[in-house]
């Protein structure tokens, strides 16, 4: 078995995300690599939530299959809605207390609520019962199930274990999932990968106002703030967020902020201020469908053009769009470091699929960037915040530094940071800021700004960015295509992209938006797209869905 997929579904409030994660951990302990897609509407109670947990022998999986090998139904809706995902071989395990009509004859019926009540548990513990039944049906040894459940349920552990055991005993083995001898690696979300990447690169403060799908970063960092000596602040608005971040940076604290499109709209004045003040700040933007409030809990790649140009006036910026947790970890650290090195805003542009997806994360895979030291004012001459210097980056100096007066200014200013409207000075300072661009481009060119996977010799390439790359890679492996994924979107690595496309005669672009924003960007750099696959229903492509669409446009 290369791959095994299990879907668990129920209502919001049933703890589907958590149950999916525990199943992922169990399969991970069985020696598999995991990817979990979690689908939920913006409801606290009711509605339909489901998670598809995929276990694979292959590393680097970042997409889900459409059809599933096992379906775990807490309610009737799960069976009805996902009927199309089942094959004759799919094992269905369902809650016989709530599924009556249309229960699959070949399925495994488990009275989850009855068992939970008999064991004196609360309703959410029905999940443990279902997980127990799943393990037995797929031949997962009880001791593995019990250890993971014990680790994941630090409260009421005994009760959960006895409920799970009842589930385990309630069904028969249908299938034997072979245990593999691969070492277990941690399961993390994209948001956690970003958080860890920022932390190891020396993050001092994280400032954020909640907005799905970025909130996971705020929650995770707030949780670990004590043990990592991090300051985590949730202020009154995104406007306050981006300005506070620059206050922190002015006083020498490496600071990141996180939001999604609507919050980012509010931040744009502050982004522009960072452009003029040259105060470093790292901004995570996790996309969801817009415009406006859009669809809060689903995915999109519709904000690329916005992020590339947000803020009035002209100023250089870094924009990085990682595809998976390994890249997210790596580029989050780099974003923080490069923002400080060049005193420009840096962006980590992700989406719901990556932010809230759960992945196996092998710590050995990404490069671990620590905190890069930056050149500071040496104190030999009077301090001038915006002193002209080679490459446009002035020596930085933080308050308080004896003997230095640090003047940062959002107005056009002279080298001392004093407001000016003198035309020569205005032009000089514009040029100073723009001078950073060549250095920034050279910097990212040295960092492999374009990912290449699939068959590097294929003459047809899929061009993609961000989380869609995970699915594109696997599709390319099946069909025999090349995948080219720019991780850096500003400054645009046009030369590296052309190199990556050498020998390609046909480019198919894949994006989760309606306008083909990367395709336009590539087009502006003389790279022409032959066919576009666009998706904008808030859902990421399953592997089979994208494979079919790629074949349709003629791979």
């Amino acid at each position: 078995m290369e791959d095994f997929s299990v879907l668990i579904g129920g209502k919001a409030g049933d703890g589907i995300n958590r149950a999916g994660f525990v199943i992922g951990r169990i399969l991970s302990r069985m020696g598999y690599r995991i990817y979990m897609y979690y689908d939920y509407p913006s409801l606290i109670r009711g509605g339909h939530n489901f998670a598809i947990v995929r276990a694979s022998r292959h590393t680097g999986i970042a997409s889900h299959h459409f059809t599933v090998d096992c379906i775990l139904a807490l309610d009737q809706a799960t069976l009805l809605r996902h009927a199309g995902r089942q094959t004759p071989a799919t094992i269905a395990i369902f809650n016989s207390d709530s599924v009556k009509a249309g229960a699959p004859a070949a399925g495994l019926a488990v009275p989850l609520e009855t068992i939970t009540k008999e064991e004196d548990g609360i309703s959410i513990m029905a999940n443990s019962c279902l997980i127990g039944a799943f393990c037995r049906a797929t031949g997962i040894p009880w001791d593995i199930a019990a250890t993971v459940l014990g680790e994941e349920m630090p409260r009421e552990t005994e009760k959960n274990l006895s409920i799970a055991r009842r589930g385990f005993d309630a069904v028969q083995e249908r299938y034997i999932l072979p245990k593999r001898e691969a070492p277990e690696v941690p399961l993390i979300t994209g948001n956690e990968a970003i958080s860890l990447g920022l932390l190891q690169a020396g993050l001092d403060a994280y400032v954020s106002y909640p907005m799905t799908p970025s909130s996971g970063i705020l929650h995770f960092l707030a949780e670990v703030a004590g043990e990592t000596r991090l300051k985590v602040i949730h202020p009154e608005s995104e406007i306050a967020v981006i300005l506070m971040a620059q206050g922190f940076a002015f006083a020498g604290s490496r600071t990141a902020v996180g939001t999604s499109g609507g919050g980012f709209c509010l931040m744009t004045e502050g982004v522009s201020m960072a452009g003029m003040t040259e105060v470093p700040v790292t901004i995570v933007v996790s996309q969801r469908p817009g415009p406006s409030t859009g669809v809060p809990t689903y995915t999109a790649q519709g904000d690329l053009a916005f992020v590339l140009s947000a803020g009035q006036g002209e100023f250089p910026r870094f924009v990085f769009a990682p595809a998976d947790p390994a890249q997210a970890f790596e580029w989050a650290g780099r974003a923080l470091n490069l923002s400080w090195k060049y005193q420009v805003p840096s962006f980590i542009l992700v989406d719901k699929t990556l932010s809230e997806g759960t992945f196996s994360f092998d710590p050995e895979e990404p490069e671990w960037t620590g905190e890069d030291p930056i050149p500071c004012w040496d104190g030999t001459h009077p301090y001038r915040r915006y002193a002209e210097s080679e490459g446009g980056v002035s020596p930085i100096c933080h308050v308080p530094t004896a003997g230095a007066v640090v003047k940062v200014n959002s107005y056009a200013h002279d080298e001392d940071g004093i407001t000016t409207e003198d035309r020569d000075l205005i032009a000089r300072l514009v040029e100073k800021r723009m001078q950073k661009s060549p250095g920034m481009l050279a910097e990212v060119e040295a960092l492999h700004p374009v990912g290449i996977s699939g068959d590097p010799t294929a003459s047809t390439a899929i061009l993609c960015w961000g989380s869609t790359a995970g699915t594109c890679r696997e599709v390319a492996d099946i069909i025999g295509l090349r995948v080219v994924q720019p991780v850096v979107l500003s400054p645009f690595p046009a030369r590296a992209l052309r190199d990556a496309l050498a020998g390609v005669s046909r480019i198919i672009s894949v994006e989760d938006n309606a306008e083909g924003q990367l395709a336009s960007l590539a087009g502006a750099h003389g790279i022409d797209i032959s066919a576009q696959i666009l998706r904008y229903d808030g859902r990421p492509h399953a592997l089979e869905e994208l494979r079919d669409r790629v074949l349709e446009v003629g791979a």
Binding site: L196, I233, A240, F250, A251, E371, P400, V406, G417
Partner: protein, 284 residues
Amino acid sequence: MSRSLITEARNTWCPGCGNFAIEHALKTVIAARIEEGFPPEKFVLVTGIGCHAKIADYLDINSFYAIHGRTIPVATGIKLANPDLCVICCAGDGDCYAEGLDHLIFAAKRNIDLTMIVHNNRVYGLTTGQYTPTSPLHFKGRSTPGGTEEKPLNPPALMLASGATMVARAYTRKLDHLQAVIREGMEHPGFAFIDVLQICASFFNMTDYYNERVYTIKEHDSSDFWRAWQKVREWDYSADAPIALGTFYKSVEPVFNDKFRITRQPGEGREQAVRKLLERRIGR
């Protein structure tokens, strides 16, 4: 420390502008505190946008010349990054009572240790004479030629209601008092709010009006919230009434920034911390 505290930037305020008095008062207080041993590099001035904000160019101390309405979030970040700094905000009334109002209320609510000086000339100076949230009812400004149809805000009352731990009012033509209140604000642990009635020589010269009505409050118990509440409501920024100057309210309460007093050596232990967080994910 024999620094003049004044930069070489050319001053472009109108003759007679009340901003001169605020600059002078602030400079005098800072100089005195430096004289007493407070390190000059620990002062940080944050300004918004408007005539008032040019004070950042003129005072030779660390400054962050921010954007319209946003002094407080910048100042809050600075204070949280380093609670040892003395962070002063100079904001305009348009600046911080209109676009920046939410930040002002939150600064009071969280009792962040800042000194907030509002240059309240009750008009938009730099954009040449529109009404602000504290312009009197029927004020004829360039955007309201027929007179405003809104009553003004009463900022000290708003700040009391929002939880500010020091609420005061001063006047640019009472320089000694202004200085004393600014100093008191800097020494106050917590959010010190000072509404400074400022003359705008070009668009709203209230000199005679203020001169006739202002008085300094005496025998006032500033720890009594309800007394303070009555005092700040004596004059509603619109109708005629005596205008009290002084510290209406003061109390010492826990300050927000103290909770964030942690420091770390660069790079210290971070990689181990990250590895530990990851290991926990596999039950180790």
